[in-house]
């Protein structure tokens, strides 16, 4: 279980996150929804350990992790724009995390991870030969392959066109559910957030405004902005 407790993040002396708290239960998928620039990606980066937390605490299964460097947290983060390694093949990309953790049977694990996203046989391909949708799925497979405790997806479908998004929303949700992973998804798209997650956290200007299931938010929005954003 992930617990974010009243964290502040300051970058270049500008406050980006203020007093953010959030819980994600085991096996739960939470979507962080908000307009661009509201601090959603920074929240993921703080949880991943890529930015320092100024105050507050982040705990995993009751233990604080703020002092743990990113490569030892055992989380998965799928980056906006995917950040695939351009000098490696699909298989090398997907197998990278396994290699880092000293796995032995990397090839079989890679092929299995590729099968989760429907890309069997894509291993030897170069990443720059892939379409946008294929890159998205390679990035997802790379994130899931080491079987991380927590999966974080930053605008997982942001770079794709409309038709493809609709198909991949369903596919991505299915992959996450099949693995029964604990996940945190960041998006600015209300429909995508609803389709991908169990609970929604609405974020604005560096703070979380309201958290809850869609019907709760629709029934009792804390203010007009929330009501407007999710309806």
């Amino acid at each position: 279980m992930l617990q974010v407790e009243q964290i502040d993040v300051v970058i270049d002396s500008k406050p980006i996150l203020e007093n953010v708290s959030l819980e994600v239960a085991d096996g739960e998928i939470v979507a962080v929804l908000g307009p661009s620039g509201s601090g959603k990606s920074t929240l993921l980066r703080a949880i991943a350990g890529l930015v320092d937390v100024a105050t507050g605490d982040i705990e995993w299964d009751g233990k604080t992790i703020v002092a743990v460097p990113p490569h030892k947290r055992g989380f998965g983060l799928m980056f906006q724009g995917y950040a695939l390694f351009p000098h490696m093949t699909v298989a090398q990309n997907v197998g990278f995390g396994l290699k880092m953790s000293g796995h032995h049977d990397i090839d079989a694990e890679v092929e299995e991870a590729l099968s989760w996203v429907g890309l069997e046989g894509f291993g030897p391909r170069q990443v720059d030969s892939l379409s946008g949708g294929e890159q998205q799925r390679v990035a997802l497979a790379r994130t899931l392959a080491p079987r991380p405790d927590l999966v974080m997806l930053d605008e997982p479908l942001g770079a794709l066109d409309r038709n493809l998004r609709q198909k991949l929303v369903t596919d991505t949700r299915k992959v996450l559910e099949d693995r029964a992973v604990t996940a945190l998804v960041v998006t600015h798209d209300r429909d995508e957030a609803v389709a991908l997650s169990d609970r929604l956290a609405l974020m604005r200007e560096g703070t979380i405004v309201q958290i809850g299931h869609l019907d709760e938010l629709l029934a009792h929005p804390v203010d007009d902005w929330v009501a407007g954003f999710i309806s």
Partner: protein, 516 residues
């Protein structure tokens, strides 16, 4: 909660210690020596300073102007037209620039053109034409042709288009080329030492003469300070200018070269053939005169005064290999720190590392003999030669690797970290494979720089550590047709080895070799 980045400290330690002890500390010793013993009251000193300083400034300015004039026709041809042999013409025009200054000096001596200001200016133009051609043409060929067409439609003649549209747009590249040529000629050493005789001396040559010939170290230190002030001023002006004119207009991605037709064809032909012929003369004369006697065989014979000339080749190759290895390791560590996003510290680091490039090689060599007697006396060590070469070469390794490291999106490294790669592992798996090609180019540059380095080496080379350039200078300094013949033969050998390595670099490089 900030984690202390001990990793960065470890990575930065070697470059910092190296530059600190072998560059910054000697510079401080020169400053204290020069300022402590400076005797401004004596009119003789002032007159000499003024004379040398004025000559340095004057010849650098005239050399820069002449280089632009000489480079103009070829620059125009390769920037505007796509013609058969264009790439080869560009490559051939670059040959003089990569030659060691000692070779250029010897080639002009072979023209029987010494102890004259004409020879110095001629050699400077010969050496620097490529800087102007390559820097300016890279930008010129990419100017959006619609700008020129728009001006034509609005009633401008071809000449007016050039004057009012093309030339103003080329200003940043011209300023860059002018600063580089000015800096090279302002700090010119080998060429002036060989061709200037006793009549002409730049600050560089005068520092050498005062320190090595007359052993007047305080005066040499004073001259070195004057020199540093001049160079820093030029660099400062250039960086200010660059900031003001930082590309504010869009460039075409590709080039816009046309096929030459009619009168333009004749123009392109004359410009290309004329320039290349002029550049070929000194080298052809050098090669043909080196073959007029048994000079190559003589290189293998022991000489009681200068030793066996061929041994200098062995020394040079050994030093070049050591300097290349050192410069590659230090340069890549430094580049990692510079691109590591640690804020203002990395900017300072970048600037400090570039200083050896701005400081003259002579000052580096002079600094070694002034300062490296502490904590142990290293001044007689033959390893000072490759260390000096490393100092000169590190900026080149840094410059060739930093752009590639910067082009690696930070997300790529973050993705690797999140997937479990430690910082060291990220460097090995992500940075190293991506930068290896650029690093190879930087290493090869370091090798070539070491082979041709003369300014610093002339201070610190001992008989046992004579390099090819210092051997050539020794042979040139000795009267007699046979010595001169051997100097020419050795120059040809050095030119061939250098050209071979540079051609290998050019093949390994992708894109234009447009930036220096």
């Amino acid at each position: 909660m900030r984690r202390v980045r001990w990793g960065w400290v470890a990575v930065a330690a070697l470059p910092v210690l190296f530059i600190g002890y072998f560059f910054v500390y000697p510079l401080i010793r020169i400053l204290t020596l020069g300022l402590a013993e400076l005797n401004v009251g004596s009119s003789g000193l002032e007159a000499r300073l003024f004379r040398v300083g004025w000559f340095t400034l004057w010849q650098a300015t005239v050399s820069t102007v002449l280089t632009f004039l000489a480079a103009a026709p070829l620059t125009w041809a390769v920037s505007s037209y796509d013609f058969r042999g264009r790439r080869i013409a560009l490559a051939l025009a670059t040959v003089p620039f990569v030659l060691p200054t000692v070779v250029v000096g010897t080639a002009f001596v072979a023209l029987d053109w010494t102890e004259s200001i004409g020879a110095i200016l001629g050699a400077h133009v010969f050496f620097n034409v490529a800087v102007v051609v390559r820097t300016v043409s890279t930008l010129w060929a990419r100017i959006d042709p619609r700008l020129q067409e728009a001006a034509r439609v609005l009633g401008a003649s071809e000449w007016e288009v050039f004057k009012r549209i093309t030339l103003p747009l080329l200003r940043p590249a011209m300023a860059a080329a002018a600063s580089i040529v000015f800096l090279f000629t302002f700090t010119s050493f080998g060429v002036v030492l060989i061709l200037g005789g006793f009549r002409y001396a730049t600050l560089e040559v005068e520092i050498y003469r005062q320190a090595v010939t007359f052993f007047d170290l305080p005066l040499a230190a004073t001259l070195a300070i004057v020199q540093m002030v001049g160079v820093t001023g030029a660099l400062y002006w250039y960086s200010r200018y660059q900031e003001r004119t930082a590309a504010s207009w869009t460039l075409e991605r590709g080039t816009n070269l046309r096929r030459p037709r009619g009168r333009a064809r004749v123009g392109v032909l004359v410009a290309t053939v004329g320039t290349l012929t002029a550049l070929a003369v000194p080298l052809s004369v050098l090669v043909s005169r080196s073959l007029t006697g048994p000079f190559y065989e003589a290189l293998f014979r022991e000489d009681r005064v200068v030793g066996t000339p061929i041994h200098s080749i062995r020394n040079s190759l050994l030093f070049a290999a050591v300097a290349m290895a050192l410069a590659t390791v230090i340069g890549m560590l430094a580049a990692t720190v510079i691109t590591g996003r640690v804020g203002p510290l990395s900017r300072w680091f970048d600037l400090t590392l570039m200083l050896p490039l701005g400081t003259s090689a002579v000052t580096i060599g002079f600094g070694f003999i002034v300062a490296l007697d502490w904590p142990v006396d290293l001044r007689a060590s033959i390893w000072l030669v490759p260390i000096a070469h490393t100092l000169v070469a590190v900026p080149f390794v840094v410059r060739s690797t930093v752009p590639t490291l910067r082009s690696v999106p930070p997300q790529t490294r973050e993705a690797a970290a999140v997937l479990g790669a430690s910082p060291l592992r990220v460097w090995r798996e992500i940075d190293l494979p991506m930068v290896s090609r650029a690093a190879l180019v930087g290493s090869a540059f370091a090798f070539v720089i070491s082979l041709g380095e003369f300014g610093a080496t002339s201070f610190i080379a001992r008989p046992a550590s004579t390099t090819i350039p210092t051997m050539i200078f020794r042979l040139l300094s000795r009267p007699g047709e046979n010595s001169f013949g051997m100097a020419m033969a050795l120059s040809v050998v050095l030119a061939v080895v250098t050209a071979a390595v540079v051609m290998a670099i050019d093949r390994a490089r992708f894109g234009e070799l447009g930036s220096f």
